[in-house]
Structure formats: C-alpha cells, structure tokens
Amino acid sequence: MDPVLLLDVLLLILAVLAAVAAMLQRDLLGSVMLMGIYSLLMAVIWANLFAMDVSFTEASVGAGAATVLLLMALTRIGTRERSGGDHSLPALVLVVLTGVVLLYGTSELPRFGDPQAPAQLHIAPHYLAQDIGKVSDSATPPNSPHGEGDFGHHVPNTVTAVLASYRGYDTMFETAVIFSAGMCLLLLLRPIPRRSPETVTIDESGSTSHQKSESVVLRTIGGMLIPYILVFGFYVQMHGEIGPGGGFQAGVLVAAAFILHSLLFGRTATDRWLPRWLVDLAMSLGVLLYAGTGVACMAMGGHFLDYSALDRVHPAEAEALGMTLVEAGVGLTVASVVLTIVRKVQGGTR
C-alpha cells in the first residue's frame, strides 16, 4: 500500500475523532485544546498532500493564533458550556440531509489526483509554467538556465507566484480586509471599561500574588527562544519565493513571539519593547507598502502591480523584488493586526 495514502487515511480518521471529541466536550477549555489537536492533524494532512503553504498557515494560524484568541475569548465568557436545550430534531434531520447531499455530490467529482480533472487542465498549466503576462526578454533566450536572476524564469514556489503576482489584486484586498478588521477592533474596543477590580487578564500584569509568577526556568528559556522565533519568522518571510511560507505565516509568527513575551514578562514589559504607536503605524504601513509597490510600477510605466516594470533590463529580478516588497507589506499588516487583536481582547489599561 502506498505509504502516503495509508498515513492519509489514518490521519483523517484521527482528525474526525478529534473534531467529534471537541464537540462532545462540555468543558470549553478542553474543547480549545482538542481543537488545537485537530488543526495540528489537519496541518499534517495538508503537508502529507504536499499542500505546504496551506499546512504552514494551518499550523501557525489554526494551532497557534486561534488557540490564543479562543483563550482570550474564554477569559470573557467563562469555561463552562451552557448545558441542555440545544438538541433539536429538525436541525439533526437538516444536517444529515445536507451531509447526504454533499456525499452524493462527491460521487460526481473527478477522482483524487486525476490528471484529466478540469482543475488541472484549465489554467493551472499556465500557472505552473508561469508564462502569463511575462515580458519576453530578447537579451537572453527563455530556456537558458542561468539567464535570469536567482530563480531563472520561475519563482520556485508556485503558490507564492500565484498569490503575489497573478492574483496580486486579490491578495492586496485580502490585506486590506485584515487591515480594516484591525481598524474596526481599534474603533470598537477603544475605551475599555475596567469591569471590576478582580478581573484578571491572561497576562496578570503585576496584579496577583508573587508566588504564582512564572518560574525562572520558563522565563529564561522562553526569553532565549524569542529571538529565534523572530529570526525564523524573518526566514519564513524572505524564503516565501522558494519554500513554503510568506507574509501571512511570517506575520503570525512574529506576532506569536511578542505574545510569548507578554505572557512571560507581562504586557507593560512588551509595550516597552514594542510601543503601541509602532504597532498601529505598522498596520497601515503594510497596506501602504503593498499599494505603493503597485503605484511604483505604474510610475515606472507599467500596469498596477506589474512588477517587471520596476526593472526593464532584468524583468525576472524585478518580479522577485516586487513579490518581496508585497510580501513584506502583508507580513507587517498581519503581524500588527494579530497583536492588536490580542491586546484589545485582553483588555486592560489604555
């Protein structure tokens, strides 16, 4: 039996078990942990299917950021699920019917991995060949292996090429959506009511007894780890053209480093390292960088987000440069928005 398929089936069974267990769990904190296990399993499944970028996102957003955000939400609503009264027969019938219809629909789908499936034939070959909108360069023939920049004619990670180049508009507006989500949170949660003196936020900045403060071991090791997380985030950011990764994942990682810092040393210490105005600034700076790259392309005589206009002599290098700039914008916005969300939901002084 094919080892990849065998692992796939086992992992899928485990993922279904974890999802069912998370639903049946009455203790919401247990549910959060089981959801963490579930999204970790999904990350392994995506990786097993060679969907590296999806797996990366699932591991960083699903298992990391979502866990922290759900925990923040639990600090507001408590950890007990309201019991009883949520079993409705019509709802069950409806759900089962929908499931049957969906299962029936899958019988019409092409076989898994079928090379003749419409998705493989329509536009995917062009994406894989990366020949859409490419400026043909007369100086070097297109098939010379070392003619163009670092990457030859291709950006090795097709996902990044599609994300940042062919679907550049989509990604720009995705970044704008994330930005506006952050803006909405800033506007909605600006004046935070101190609910009551005994409200303890998750980082307990100097409010509870000294005995419960974090251990020296954890602080030392965690503090040592933070620079490495930042370096790894930077690697993921810059390596997006070659391996899995890119702005979205790197942004979450960088935010995670600062979240870890605030968990270990308290929020006031983090604010000293990373002032709030800097986070607010980075949020809008990211979108500005993305759109600014597009405008710069126009200023150099190309279309909006047509990176090859940045350097007519070396279009492939200009392409890589444009993608790097755009990804940096995405990373800045994502990191600062995640940090803003966590800080705002935590509540506290302002």
Partner: protein, 113 residues
Amino acid sequence: MEMISDGLLLLGGFVAFSGALGVLRMPDFYSRLHPAGTADTLAQLLVIGGLVLRHLDSTGDSLLVVGKLIAISVLLMVTTPTATHAISRAAHLSGLAPWTRRSTDLEEQEESP
C-alpha cells in the same frame, strides 16, 4: 549506515509509542510527567538522528536539511523539558496532590464531578 539509521528510526518510534502509552496508563498526573518528558526527548533524538544519517547516506550534500533537522532536535530538546517543568510547577502550585495508594478512593471522589 542504512541499517543504523533504520535501527535508530525504529527505536525512536518505539520509545515515542511507549512514552505515549505511559502517558495514557500511568495512575496520576505526576507519574505521567515522567514518560512525557523523558521519553519524548529521547525519542526525538533517536528519530532525528536516524533521519540525519539517512540524509547524509542518500545524498551527502545539502547541509541546509541537516541544519534544519538539528535545529528541530535542539528546539525540542529545550522546549519539551521546559514545558513539562512549567506544567508540573503550575500543577504543584495549584495544590494538585500526588497519587498514593491510600489516597485513591479520595481522589476518585474528587475527580468524578
């Protein structure tokens, strides 16, 4: 080389499995710490060691992959004991009592609701 890396991988898998078995079967939290912390640290060393040998054996180049594998190993070697320590410390500070043969009946009464 092939034999050694196979052996390391299988041994690592066995240690990982038996560690998890300990986490499942041990009677209380503090005794579960032992298989969780130590077995996982050993298992990842064996597995990553086997993979490094396998990689060096098959290709002989690409130091990036070996470097990443070693980075994973060092990362796990540092974080797993730290996390285990932090969990056990938190449990101890919260007043969770260790299991003894005498306290079994009492514990089960506490755990049931």
